[in-house]
Symmetry: C2
Subunit: 328 residues, 2 copies
């Protein structure tokens, strides 16, 4: 687990969650982050340390089950500025993510749970990625387009064809190849989860283009991609109107929705699941789940932020790495 | 009330609703539509006529409270094809809408409740509008941009800056003038409803542009428009990220959300309020509410379609025309 920006909500939520449920993750859970940030919140909240400090990650794969804390050399001595968005926070978050990738790439860990980081300070600190997904894809030797952002809620599950793009650029980025790849990743993920039902593909335009009256992408790109996915044996349907497909999926008609762009998928998902959805990156060679909220600098220390998204992220990662998703 | 396409769900839902609640609308409610369609559903369902037939609309403003039915000359003898989408249905829907506009324009009625129509048959029948809104705006002597589509649910209320546009054209249509006008209409509507709280303006881009990283429209167009609205005394805030603003509004933090485009606003609205939201046209010289669903040709006669959106549309129209919205 990387708590993300040391000044954000990540360290506080990790401490509060693991103090309340020390065995939430039944295997080896190593927090790679600013231990000073964790310790500060523990002192503030008057709770015992939730982790055992590791001085090295050499033997990480042989540790007994439990919660461990490790601070990379480059992070030692860093003094976190709680509730503040500063470049040093971006640096610490980036260094810890890089260290975690090293463990994952050498096979000493099977999954990564990430807390929220601040995109602008991460970039200011020289890590040239607008967020976790690109960082992890490149770190795993993949292109950004090889992976797919997925939001997994109790009732609604949503994958995204495009993510952090200006709206005016979305239409040009929608390709049949990308849709088929996202459908493939989403269908495989649903199978791991033990969730039935097809993946419904949302249209790009209002009313899924209304037979071409409101846009041609459904006819020229999306419908042919859905047909190709079906020929490949994938359970996919659509394109369906983006205003109603999420409701139908949440009612159980579909296993997931493939949304064309960020707000189309995330607005209904967060309307239904504000604090209990998990962000999952599909297509990486390891499991990666994340909280579904931001750094919330203004909430740090107030006790008002919920641990439930982090709890869901840890639980889902646990199910996925142990291969027990289907029975979980 | 115009039930919309005579072969769609409108006539069936009107009959079912008014049979169950004959005094739902406490004033004069005149159904302008194919009476053959209403009668067919009444016979099929074995219920007494829910309306008193009118042969003329000349004295409509002096009628006693109750439910009346009127069939324009041009619609008489038309045989509805239930559960079928045919051009004749578009013609009947268009003629009845035109007749209703005549009554409204001469001041003999204060509001209009519309059932669902089929855009393609309406256009095929020579009414060159892609839906109700443009038809009504032009009929009232207004431009399309003078009015604003609003979806009013029990918890979430959403106005739209743009509606039925291909997604690739949305960004180019966002103007400060339009945003300020929609904010003005929405604030005045909330006041009539007796709903407090500012109108939150959604960003166009993911994360409301994230300080320009993901698009410049928030900085160049939306934020200045919100400031201008505030200078005009309107209660407006934003731009706020489109993925979370609808959840916050549904929790009561805002009175309504101004969404930039169709699916951004309607996907979260329908996720929360699938069958109990009302479509309201703001900016017309009369009250206009509408069901929030389509013609549902495949559901006609199955008994599976809910009357709840039509019920909400009638109730809200009643509150708005009687000026009792605040106390209702």
């Amino acid at each position: 687990m990387t708590p993300g920006d040391p000044g954000g909500l990540g360290p506080e939520l990790a401490v509060r969650l693991l103090a309340a449920e020390p065995r939430l993750f039944p295997g080896r859970l190593v927090i790679v982050g600013s231990l000073a940030a964790l310790d500060m919140h523990q002192r503030r909240l008057g709770i015992e340390s939730v982790y055992t400090r590791l001085d090295s990650l050499d033997d990480v794969s042989t540790l007994a089950p439990g919660v461990y804390g490790f601070e990379p050399e480059t992070v030692k001595g860093s003094q976190p500025a709680p509730a503040e968005c500063v470049e040093e926070g971006g640096r610490v978050a980036g260094e810890c993510l890089q260290t975690s990738l090293d463990i994952l790439n050498r096979g000493d860990a099977q999954g990564l749970v990430t807390g929220p980081l601040c995109k602008s300070t991460l970039m200011a600190a020289g890590f040239d990625f607008p967020g976790h997904t690109g960082f992890l894809a490149e770190g795993a030797g993949l292109a950004q387009d090889d992976v797919c952002m997925h939001l997994c809620g109790p009732k609604l599950r949503v994958s995204l064809v495009t993510t952090h793009l200006p709206l005016s650029q979305v239409a040009a980025e929608i390709t049949g190849e990308r849709i088929v790849h996202c459908l493939d990743l989403t269908c495989r993920f649903l199978e791991k989860l033990g969730v039935d039902g097809p993946v419904a593909v949302a249209g790009l335009n209002p009313h899924a283009g209304e037979d071409g009256l409101l846009g041609r992408e459904e006819i020229e790109i999306i419908a042919p991609a859905v047909k190709q996915a079906q020929r490949l044996g994938l359970q996919a349907v659509g394109p369906l109107p983006g205003d109603t497909v999420f409701h139908l999926a949440a009612c159980g008609e579909f296993g997931a929705v493939l949304a064309m762009y960020h707000d189309q998928g995330l607005a209904p998902l967060k309307a239904l699941h504000f604090s209990d959805a998990v962000n999952v990156t599909l297509g990486l060679p390891f499991v990666r789940t994340s909280v579904d909220h931001g750094t919330g600098f203004d909430l740090v220390g107030t006790g008002r932020a919920s641990t439930s998204s982090l709890r869901s992220a840890v639980t889902l990662a646990s199910r996925l790495v142990s291969g027990k998703a289907r029975s979980g």
